[in-house]
């Protein structure tokens, strides 16, 4: 923990020289400090290099007008996913550092100080949940959902952009904590009373509070937007029971976001009131009750698990159906299971604190509810298996992820049933068994799903396919690395090794920790492979163009438009007459040709870009920064900027622009002409260079 002398309190608040990792490493050059300073330097150098490259190639204006201020749901979705990958890289490196420390620190202090180790597990967890998983799934929903339900954009494009920028601002605070000050050592859940000012007086917890609060407000906004889009913007004829599964899981996820993010906001803000104003919500003294924090945090935290997993379930449903060349088995049961999971997820939160001290009856009720939620999840697994049954399964990268998910996720589910029994939970509570369990759920249940979706929809978004070979290498590393890194933790946890342990005094744990360490390096190799895959794919993009837009013989509406889609998505809004309108039109005799010219075109109204959302998101981060460092003037100014931006925007008119029908017609007809000249490929050749994005009709 830093003890630094404030330099100039009136202007710089709490800041002192010791808050810079570079100064700390100069005064105390230990490996732990060197790593901290190196990370801080990496952030600074990274930012400078990006800025320099943008200036060198004169891309600032392009970036600003075409991307940062864009209200196009597709670009917003892509920016979310870029944020997710950047943050994934950081949090994965942190995970490797922690595994190294635990492998080294057996009857030995290791190379990381306890404080540094605490910051690592806190940032790793916070980032993976709030700044990797949430942006990844929000971005994917943003990109795919309007295309799947036949909409031109989200219901509230401006709010969509604000949600993105709040997330970016919050992620920025996470990165800033590497350069100025320190991060919380209270874990991703930030339990008081440890995180109260009495025990954690530094800026770390405040960084955590404001980053998480901004992120959760952004997610609430995103959830409202997604729900309203599904409810109100479906194409004509798109009844609820005709939506693709991904649209269904997006809807249920958004409902969970709407109702589950507020408890987190309340918990973090009440903690902030305790810390800043001396309130007594969660303190030890004067009537505070820290267990109410645990209660509210998990009122958010458990639905959050399903916020993370449901979109991946949606991706798997799409992927398994497409690459098994079959209709999704048990569509209705999948829909009901998704809704059941969404509702049940609000009834199980107590299983995160079975050991609090409430009566056995309360625990029993929540234990049973927890086991119940396994039932709809099981239904889904069976549905996917039946979808593959007697299908023509193609083992492409997304399908491999789906298969690995099914095996691995079920294993994690079994350990979940163990944890759902309060007496057993008492034994492994707070051990690595739990750490192994939730990684076992979230890596297959979230990360594999998002990566499958990334590979599956990448050609739609950019017009060329990702490299298959590097995709398989990355896949292998993700799966092998996962098993090596996390299955030893079950053994360690069952043997009683506590989670978040900085040094270990039990030599018999050594081999397991070594294996887990090797696994962590393989996971790092997996991430590297993804980077190489992207680079190779961009390099070879001329050979993998799929402008016709349907490289996988897809089912949903998103495959019926060009790749990348025009900014208005659909030249003419489609009329929906079934569950797989595009696929049926492609393959069934006597159906209208999906590539026929429409009878008439209309003018299309789209929102103009807006800089106000960027200003609002960044000003919110600045306000948070001011609060963290107690630079009150900065906070007040930033809040005024936010209010001014909102009011200004509300006074603005002329925030839409019209694309004339003639222009739409020209672009669309030109694309149709190119489609007609595209050679169709059979599914079996979809990964070959001949795949130009037009599926062959097999009678």
């Amino acid at each position: 923990m830093t003890v630094s002398v404030p330099l100039w309190p009136a202007v710089l608040g709490r800041f002192g020289w010791q808050d810079l990792p570079f100064v700390r490493v100069w005064e105390n050059p230990t490996i732990s400090e060197i790593i901290g300073a190196f990370a801080g330097a990496l952030v600074v150098v990274g930012a400078v290099v990006v800025a320099a490259l943008l200036t060198r190639y004169g891309k600032w204006r392009y970036l600003w007008t075409e991307w940062l201020t864009s209200l196009d749901h597709k670009k917003i979705g892509i920016m979310y996913i870029v944020v997710a990958f950047v943050m994934l890289s950081r949090a994965l490196v942190e995970a490797v550092l922690m595994r190294m420390q635990q492998a080294v620190a057996i009857e030995n202090p290791g190379f990381l100080t306890p404080d540094h180790f605490g910051q690592l597990f806190s940032t790793h967890g916070s980032i993976m949940i709030f700044f990797m998983a949430m942006p990844f799934l929000t971005g994917m929903i943003n990109y795919v959902l309007p295309l799947q339900i036949g909409a031109r954009d989200m219901a509230f494009p401006w709010a969509n952009s604000i949600a993105l920028w709040l997330t970016i601002g919050a992620a920025g605070l996470m990165m800033a904590s590497l350069v100025v000050g320190e991060f919380s050592t209270g874990g991703w859940s930030g339990y008081p009373p440890y995180t109260e000012r009495a025990f954690s007086p530094g800026v770390g917890v405040d960084y955590w509070i404001w980053a998480v609060t901004l992120g959760s407000i952004g997610s609430t906004m995103a959830g409202i937007n997604i729900a309203c889009t599904v409810y109100k913007l479906r194409a004509p004829g798109m009844r609820f029971m005709r939506m693709q599964m991904f649209a269904w899981t997006s809807l249920c996820t958004s409902i969970l976001m709407i109702f589950a993010m507020p408890p987190l906001t309340v918990a973090t803000l009440l903690l902030a009131l305790d810390r800043y104003l001396g309130f007594h919500f969660f303190t030890n003294d004067l009537g505070g009750n820290m267990m109410n924090y645990a209660n509210m945090f998990w009122l958010f935290g458990h639905p959050e698990v399903y916020i993370l997993i449901l979109p991946a379930f949606g991706v798997y449903s799409e992927v398994v159906s497409t690459f098994s060349t079959k209709d999704l088995y048990g569509y209705t049961s999948l829909v009901i299971a998704t809704m059941a999971i969404a509702v049940l997820s609000f009834t199980v939160w107590v299983h995160h604190f079975f050991t609090m001290g409430q009566s056995a009856n309360v625990n029993a009720a929540f234990g049973i509810a927890t086991m119940t939620i396994g039932v709809p999840t099981g239904v889904k697994i069976y549905d996917w298996i039946w979808t593959m049954f007697r299908g023509e399964v193609r083992f492409t990268v997304p399908m491999l992820y789906a298969l690995a998910f099914m095996m691995t996720f079920v294993l994690g589910g079994f350990t979940g049933i163990i944890l759902a029994m309060p007496p057993l939970d008492y034994l492994v509570h707070n051990t690595l068994f739990l750490v192994a369990h939730f990684h076992n759920m979230l890596i297959p249940g979230l990360l594999y799903g998002m990566l499958a979706g990334y590979y599956y929809w990448f050609p739609k978004a950019f017009g060329f396919r990702l490299n298959e070979r590097w995709g398989r290498i990355a896949f292998t590393c993700w799966v092998v690395g996962f098993y090596l890194a996390f299955f030893p933790l079950y053994v360690l946890g069952a043997s009683g090794m506590a989670r978040r342990t900085q040094a270990i005094f039990e030599p018999s744990f050594r081999p397991w920790l070594y294996v887990a360490g090797v696994g962590a390096f393989i996971l790092l190799a997996a991430l590297t492979s993804l980077g190489i895959q992207l680079w190779v794919s961009i390099r070879d993009r001329a050979k993998t163009q799929v402008e016709a837009g349907d490289p996988w013989d897809g089912r949903g509406l998103e495959w019926s438009v060009s790749a990348p889609p025009p900014e208005y998505n659909f030249a003419v809004l489609p009329l929906i007459d079934g569950r797989n309108p595009f696929y049926d039109h492609k393959h069934d005799e006597g159906q209208p040709d999906p590539y026929a010219s429409p009878a008439a075109y209309e003018d299309i109204v789209l929102p103009r870009g807006s800089a106000t959302s960027v200003v609002i998101g960044l000003a919110a981060a600045v306000a948070g920064f001011g609060l963290i460092w107690e630079i009150w003037g900065l906070t007040i100014v930033a809040l005024q900027v936010i209010v001014a931006a909102v009011v200004l925007r509300s006074f603005g008119r002329d925030q839409h622009r019209t694309i004339p029908a003639a222009e739409v017609a020209r672009a669309h007809e030109a694309w149709l002409t190119r489609v007609r000249a595209t050679p169709a490929v059979p599914r079996q050749l979809e990964t070959a260079a001949v795949n130009r994005g037009l599926a062959e009709i097999v009678a």
């Binding site: 219901a155 509230f156 709010a159 609430t220 959830g223 409202i224 937007n225 729900a227 309203c228 409810y231 109100k232 913007l233 709407i258 109702f259 993010m261 507020p262 408890p263 906001t265 309340v266 009440l270 009131l273 305790d274 104003l277 001396g278 309130f279 007594h280 919500f281 004067l286 009537g287 505070g288 009750n289 109410n292 509210m296 009122l299 109204v605 009011v647 509300s650 006074f651 008119r653 839409h656």
Partner: protein, 208 residues
């Protein structure tokens, strides 16, 4: 969703702008979702208040701090402001003269501000006998709950002023109508939250 009239207080858009009836539906529905999300925040503060009501730690108690009369007057003010906002909505919908609309909006704003003044006075009285939020868990939860509601009312008052400015600047175009309607929903919802506050906080504090 193509009912001839909007379901919410029947917004009459006329043919004033770029927004269609469908888009107005979306805008209002989205705002409803936001309101429900906000309601969850209040619900948790109520739950927190419920668990901390006994945590007075030898300090001020509900019985010693909550007075029925000011709470009753504040309730009447907020309820009446909800009704006057409803009247303003009707003035907007039927395109009554502008001064009628402004009159009812002005009345609503006035009632909201008087409510805030009374609430501030309540808080000041409590502070005067050392009933401030740092004293106990009970007082922390009281000030967070009632204070957040007061903050909402203050934001609503500010928003009302902004909306009057927009009516002056643009007349009742589609966006102004939609936003006035949203503000109306917000205002009515704040009154509904207040029903829970006077029942659970002030009345419960004075029972027995």
């Amino acid at each position: 969703m193509s009912e001839p009239e909007l379901s919410h207080a029947g917004l009459n858009l006329g043919d004033t702008g770029e927004l269609t009836q469908d888009q107005a539906e979306n805008a209002i529905f989205g705002f409803w979702i936001f309101l429900m999300s906000d309601a969850v925040i209040f619900a948790l503060l109520f739950a927190t208040y419920g668990t901390m009501i006994a945590s007075t730690v030898g300090g001020p108690t509900p019985a010693s701090e909550f007075k029925l009369l000011p709470a009753f007057v504040e309730t009447l003010l907020l309820l009446t402001s909800s009704a006057t906002f409803g009247r303003a909505t009707i003035a907007m919908k039927y395109d009554e003269p502008r001064r009628v609309l402004f009159g009812w909006l002005g009345a609503t704003l006035g009632l909201g501000l008087v409510f805030l003044a009374l609430e501030a006075n309540d808080f000041a009285t409590m502070f005067a006998h050392c009933a401030y939020p740092m004293r106990s868990g009970f007082l922390s939860s009281f000030f967070a709950l009632v204070g957040l509601h007061g903050l909402h009312v203050a934001v609503a008052c500010f928003w009302l002023v902004v909306m009057v400015g927009q009516v002056c600047a643009y007349g009742l175009d589609a966006r102004v109508r939609i936003n006035l309607l949203r503000l109306g929903l917000f205002w009515h919802l704040l009154d509904i939250v207040w029903i829970a506050i006077f029942s659970v906080v002030y009345l419960q504090g004075n029972i027995g």
